[in-house]
Symmetry: C2
Subunit: 216 residues, 2 copies
């Protein structure tokens, strides 16, 4: 239900083809959404039937023809209605966190390895975003222009950046905690994992969670 508004939002600024829209989704917008061409094209056709966008066919030399879409007044109204509607409470899906939750089932070495790998993955995303931001800033400064759309896309970029940075820090902290709690993965009685008194790990445990439970 959100893809259509992603498309309408984009077309509220520029006119574009399905192919162009896909590129935007793969670029900056990948921070909050993603979609395949095979979903974008049918959605564009639906939006046109509903009179929220209109199209014109452009012939090109040396390249296939393209269909350029423009938002209609109806479309702008729909977009604004959606922007003003209360946002549904977010339902997160994070496969890595799910894996982490169940990592008592693999060895400590493997846990640490997985955390390091994932940290790497996230670091690459961070670097990419930093790069995008630096280029944006350069271009903004050179052209010396600022407007609401640029501001809002930049604050979204910042949120994406922060998210990556914090995930990386969490990976680091968690690697440290897991390594200092290694012995929890030792198997006693053949198959079952160790259960030890909390007091043995209390200090490092409380240290890891200190900012979460300050006053407690």
């Amino acid at each position: 239900m959100s893809l259509r508004f992603g498309i309408l939002g984009l077309l509220s600024e520029w006119e574009a083809s399905g192919y162009d829209i896909k590129k935007e989704f793969d670029d900056l917008m990948s921070i909050f959404w993603h979609s395949h061409l095979s979903q974008i094209y049918p959605e564009l056709n639906k939006l046109e039937k509903e009179n929220l966008i209109s199209s014109k066919l452009i012939a090109q030399e040396g390249k296939p023809d393209k269909k350029i879409y423009t938002i209609t007044e109806n479309g702008k109204e729909e977009l604004m209605k959606w922007l003003l509607a209360p946002t549904e409470s977010p339902k997160l899906k994070d496969v890595f966190l799910m894996q982490t939750f169940f990592m008592d089932n693999i060895s400590v070495e493997e846990v640490v390895f997985k955390l390091k790998m994932y940290k790497k993955e996230r670091t690459q995303r961070l670097d990419k975003m930093k790069q995008i931001m630096i280029e944006r800033l350069k271009s903004i400064k050179e052209r010396n222009v600022m407007k609401a759309r640029i501001l809002m896309s930049s604050v979204v970029l910042k949120r994406g950046y922060e998210q990556e940075l914090q995930y990386i820090r969490w990976c680091e902290d968690t690697i440290n905690l897991v390594e200092s709690c290694k012995f929890l993965w030792e198997k006693s009685e053949g198959k079952r994992s160790t259960i030890i008194p909390f007091s043995d790990v209390e200090e490092m445990f409380m240290n890891y969670f200190s900012d979460m439970i300050e006053e407690y």
Copy 2:
């Protein structure tokens, strides 16, 4: 493709019914996944057909009968294979960030209102997680036990908490930035929004993004 592993992961620790599993998904696990009973029940049947779990029917007094599922050796292997497999790069979906991206289409007052509302929403989630953590800690201390599963579920809880906290802080920072850049939403020439020289907002802009572009 992840729901089945969420179920297998749960059953690697306790045996449970579909109804029990749903409750776990609604509780702590809601940080990284969610699912409906109408999806859980068919998935359980599929998993049983594939010999990854087995069931026994338990008759109860005053309550409907229930089917208790247990993980099989096959199931444990599948779970471990999944835990060790490289994690697919995360594809985020965040409707609120999408809305934010396009908020040049509504008035500043409405932008600030939306940000405040969303901050409230996230604050409620934060409080809930804090509560869960405090109760966990109390129970861990009282029973004086620690094991790998408890550790890993706690680190996941911390990630969830941090995520909420940081989102809230971003909302606050963004409200301030938007309010100090109000004039960008003023319409000039009837319909188009204002374009102003970047130098007019450079200081507050750079301040908001300072941690993202330190050395630049």
